[in-house]
Point group: C2
Chain length 408, copies 2
């Protein structure tokens, strides 16, 4: 069905279901995403170490960039002048922009609670010791009813994000799919705070939707975000609230609890309450062991930095490896003249042996990361193709067993 605010250039057709899992086509102005689909993380307008043409060759269908990072550097005004994010970054396929809610959370509560992904996402923050520290009075972010004020990790400048402002920011960027500004909570926030934050996210959601309906001129879709932490009644309330708003799609965000089981429960509480005919995105999740779990709970899109992050440490996916992961620096690959995975058509497997790739990691050659990341994306795309086919054939359970991805 076509849907929502932008009816003419977006549509989502579910072609088959298998339990909660669905497969379909999400049509955007810049192309079709066959779902369920992995979305590559291109925070700064590029996937780390992997250019747009590399990514096209892997079969990756969509990228998610980050409005917060692009706002700080190089700034949405510049990107707008350059013809928008599409022209700027040279990517021609479907593109999403995350709102920055998670990044603001990382500067605030996650830092105070010592949780979240701050160390990995903001390596720079840990260098700010001289200017800011994690004492409450020096916090980098203040959240109020109307938005969030935060300090740039780059230069200490002050910035203000509001729900309306973040839609306007994303209008300038011009991605196919935008996300609303939300307030993320940490697993250490109590019920009362999580509930208050959720209420604020809901009020922000209305403001964002209103701004979008009035001001978005380009063909862009806007996704709501379900919050509520790991509390069942809050998650259900949030999912029902968001479902009542005419968003083009729905993301599940914020704290997903402290374990994989918690995360699975959050999906089981929320996904069934979301409109069946709209796409559902799980934010920041997608390690290999998560993929079957989230797809089989009704998720259509998910993003995760795992393919590049693993590549940076010399880890590549392979059906030929124990637990599907091969750490190339391991001595066992020293004299291994095989490609990472026989039959893989990626640039790394077509031309280079595990031994050579190991050598590149050993000598600190930057191409090592690119080759490993390109392979990892190819691998995931091939896995996702199998998953989509299995859903069409009603055999997703069987495929999951065949893969038997370890929970590590």
């Amino acid at each position: 069905m076509t849907f929502g605010i932008i009816k003419y250039m977006f549509s989502f057709e579910i072609q088959a279901t298998d339990g909660e899992a669905r497969t379909g086509k999400l049509v955007t102005p810049h192309g079709v995403i066959e779902t369920p689909s992995f979305v590559a993380v291109g925070t700064q307008g590029i996937v780390r170490a992997v250019c747009a043409e590399d990514l096209e060759a892997t079969g990756v269908q969509a990228i998610i960039a980050n409005a917060y990072h692009l706002h700080l550097q190089p700034g949405e005004e510049l990107i707008d002048e350059m013809g928008g994010l599409y022209r700027f970054m040279g990517w021609e396929g479907p593109l999403m922009t995350d709102s920055g809610g998670f990044q603001i959370f990382s500067l605030g509560a996650a830092k105070e609670h010592g949780v979240g992904k701050i160390a990995s996402i903001f390596p720079e923050v840990s260098d700010l010791g001289g200017h800011f520290n994690s004492k409450k009075k020096d916090r980098l972010v203040e959240i109020d009813e109307d938005g969030a004020t935060f300090i740039s990790y780059l230069d200490g400048s002050r910035h203000r994000f509001t729900p309306e402002g973040v839609v306007a920011l994303q209008n300038k960027l011009g991605a196919d799919i935008m996300l609303i500004l939300d307030e993320c909570t940490s697993p250490l926030h109590d019920y009362a705070y999580t509930r208050r934050a959720m209420g604020r996210t809901h009020r922000w959601a209305r403001k964002a939707l209103d701004a979008h309906q009035r001001h978005s001129e380009k063909a862009q879709a806007l996704f709501g975000i379900v919050q509520g932490g790991a509390y069942q009644d809050l998650r259900e309330t949030s999912a029902l609230f968001m479902a009542q708003q005419d968003f083009d799609g729905y993301a599940v965000g914020g704290s997903l609890g402290k374990s994989k089981d918690d995360m699975h429960r959050v999906l089981e509480w929320t996904v069934p309450l979301l409109p069946h005919g709209r796409p559902r995105h799980l934010l920041g999740i997608g390690k290999m062991e998560d993929i079957f779990e989230v797809v089989m709970r009704g998720i259509d899109l998910f993003d995760c930095i795992a393919p590049t992050r693993m590549a940076e440490t010399g880890t590549v996916f392979s059906r030929e490896a124990d637990r599907y992961a091969m750490h190339l620096l391991n001595a066992r690959y020293r004299e291994d003249s095989s490609p990472i995975e026989a039959g893989c058509g990626c640039v790394a497997c077509r031309r280079y042996s595990r031994a050579f790739l190991r050598h590149l990691f050993a000598v600190g050659e930057p191409s090592a990361i690119r080759l490993a990341a390109v392979h990892n994306f190819c691998f995931l795309e091939s896995m996702m193709k199998e998953i989509r086919q299995a859903i069409k054939e009603g055999r997703i359970e069987a495929l999951k067993k065949e893969w038997s991805v370890p929970q590590w």
Copy 2:
């Protein structure tokens, strides 16, 4: 004419000369190098940040890898087991291996004299402070009549290079063109030492040639290296000595003095004494301002890390820039939606603006270096094409004036 020891798979045909400059075809078992030609530096078996297929797309004709580095890591035995350097590194075109003479020099005299490229070539050495320092008693290399003994910068292990051993090492690597082990001297070495070292290099040259004639089984060529520092009589003696040996080609190496003028004089003393019909390689030289100078003094091949080293600092070549060099981090490129150079067909220029590339450098994205390096190679290849054409047309002087490359 075909030539030298390996007559059946190597030939060098000079198609035109213009003053001392020559243009021709150097045929090797892995393809033809149109000369004069830039040779890309692939020390570790890969050109920094640029994969083999990237390099092919730029038109780069040949790579020079380094026997010293590959001996230390991953070792010639491993590469031999993997089917040789060609299969290992996935490069299918003409390939040279440098002998490691310069690297041994860098560990010894260059370090003691505080000269040479040690800081840039061996960043690791400066980290060895705890184990080794630059006091003479702790020197990392000892040269004797039969070879050089040195300590690995990686693990402190001892290694021995002899003229015959380095041929055997390069036989295992299997590049089309090998270089003899030489003893490089520094500009601070006096006449007497430079003369002694030259004599040793000459004796080593005979041993290397002898080993090559007896033991090289693959179709590999061996180039001699002219030494003699910046002393005219030594350079002439060395060139005449090398010319009398039946090398397949000749390199000019060692100290080229303290200035560009010194380097030009060294070429003027030596190149006319080398056999006209054999290729001549200038080792480690090839910044843009050097190219016309060395080609017009009769050099056919040269190698230099400039294209990648400049790329690492955000500097790209462009006919549209002052002095042909554009520092992308400069604020003037912030809003510049043009490609680095209009009409350039490289992956960077086809798809990305200067503003986007600047952004990639600003955020520390590894793809920035790859894109800039690929462009720089494309640029140099296009310059070299112009140079070859101009030699054919007898207008190299005029082309040099058109380019008017600044001496910076």
